[in-house]
């Protein structure tokens, strides 16, 4: 229950971190908040030759607005996200989801970039990234590239990042004023990873639903964007019948696995129930225009 031996590096710039990462050729692990990696090291499920600690790179921690987006340095703590006035004003869905990420002492250390790069399928931030159609910026020796969630998440704990690349920034489009939103989650204990989580956003115009966004956590190997369910709402509005039809569709769109925490059937059931709950709460918050 103690970490194995590793070389330890704490670079102070991104370039230095990239060159170290290249030097170890895939045998090094990046240490962000450490709230997932350190347990893996303690259990010796992970035995990297080296740890490259990103916590001494101040340039990787920021929250700023640009071009209608909110941009987060990858090392921005979840706690900073939770209490950021910019996030509260522009990304209330992200703020609500943050309260489901572990517990406050976990969020003191955990980072937005680490949470997304770790790609735990039951984690909250990947679901928000999918629902809001965000992007991540990745830097490597071949330069910089920008990835959408469907390009980033491959399967359980696996992204399309190369071994010599670092996720440096998370970009989320600011939510339009008046957008309704809700993050619903069920876990056996507060702070555990979600059995199912649903991120929802709706933009209402009169009796119409101009835009609906729905994405899952815990319902398969990667976050699932529930496009067919969104289309029902965009076509039929946000009445009870349409919400129930969208929830039914959500349950059919996911392909969850059974594991020790829940059966696939139960996860489908939760997907339906939480989708309906999230939509009703989002609708109640939406300002009509």
């Amino acid at each position: 229950m103690k970490p194995p031996r590793f070389d330890y590096h704490a670079p102070t710039s991104l370039d230095e971190a990239l060159s170290l990462l290249g030097r170890y050729g895939g045998d090094a692990k990046l240490l962000a908040g450490g709230q997932s990696l350190m347990p893996l090291l303690n259990f010796r499920l992970s035995r990297p030759a080296a740890l490259i600690d990103l916590n001494r790179i101040p340039a990787l921690a920021y929250i700023k607005e640009a071009d209608g987006q909110v941009r987060f340095g990858a090392m921005t703590r979840q706690r900073a996200v939770e209490f950021s006035p910019v996030v509260q004003a522009r990304l209330p869905l992200l703020q609500e989801a943050t309260r489901w990420v572990g517990h406050l002492p976990i969020r003191t250390r955990g980072t937005i970039g680490g949470s997304i790069a770790h790609a735990d399928p039951s984690a909250e931030y990947p679901a928000v990234l999918a629902a809001l159609e965000g992007q991540v910026v990745v830097r490597g020796p071949r330069g910089e590239r920008t990835l959408r969630p469907e390009q980033l998440f491959r399967t359980y704990l696996t992204t399309s990042l190369e071994a010599d690349e670092i996720l440096t920034e998370v970009r989320l489009p600011g939510m339009p004023a008046g957008a309704g939103y809700a993050f619903e989650e069920f876990a056996r204990r507060h702070g555990d990873f979600a059995i199912i989580g649903i991120a929802a956003m709706v933009i209402v115009e009169g009796r119409r639903c101009r835009t609906a966004r729905l994405a899952t956590a815990g319902a398969g190997p990667v976050p699932v964007r529930l496009r067919a369910a969104e289309e029902i709402l965009e076509k039929d509005g946000l009445g009870d019948a349409a919400i129930d039809a969208a929830a039914q569709s959500a349950g059919e769109l996911v392909g969850p696995d059974s594991d020790i925490h829940a059966s696939a059937d139960y996860r489908r059931h939760l997907t339906r129930v939480l989708t309906a709950r999230a939509l009703r709460r989002a609708l109640a918050r939406a300002g009509g225009r």
Partner: protein
């Protein structure tokens, strides 16, 4: 830094400058207990679930079993040993004693540090907020009711001392 080389770690613990040398893989909680002799912080699950090892890191609660000692170089840490001042229990400790917020005491150091941070963020918490806040630490004795009562009772005293 090669794997078995020892590295210096200098930090402030409970207001005092401390220093030690350890392998980079040494967990902060083990450094506090073994190298600095501060055994008040408890080692529970060692993977960031139980919360017994929670300390204050630069004024915010964090788990010391999933952080390396070397990462705390330059940091300001408060452990359970730093709560009481001049022989006087901290108001939060008083409240735990008054309201039976502990039984075996194993989770108590982490529970107190977690509750302290929680009360900084929520100066006037509802019971539901308290229950969510202390869910960061597992207690197997009390059934939590005494802890909830203690945290609720401590809130006004902490506000006064601010």
């Amino acid at each position: 830094m090669k794997m078995s080389d020892k590295v210096p770690v200098r930090l402030t613990v409970n207001g005092t400058s401390r220093e030690g040398r350890c392998e980079p893989r040494k967990l902060l909680v083990d450094f506090l207990r073994e190298d600095l002799g501060l055994t008040g912080t408890h080692v529970g699950c060692e993977h960031g679930i139980c919360g017994a090892c929670t300390i204050m890191l630069n004024g915010e609660a964090a788990r010391s079993c999933i952080m390396l000692a070397v990462q705390a170089d330059g940091a300001e840490i408060v452990t359970i040993e730093g709560l009481a001042q001049a022989g006087q229990l901290h108001p939060l400790q008083e409240a735990f004693r008054e309201h039976h917020g502990l039984q075996c005491g194993f989770c108590t150091p982490g529970m107190l540090m977690t509750a302290l941070d929680f009360l900084h963020v929520h100066p006037d918490p509802t019971e539901a907020e308290i229950r969510e806040g202390i869910s960061a630490v597992l207690c197997r004795c009390t059934g939590y009711q005494g802890i909830v009562n203690a945290v609720k009772a401590a809130a006004p005293a902490l506000n006064r001392s601010r």
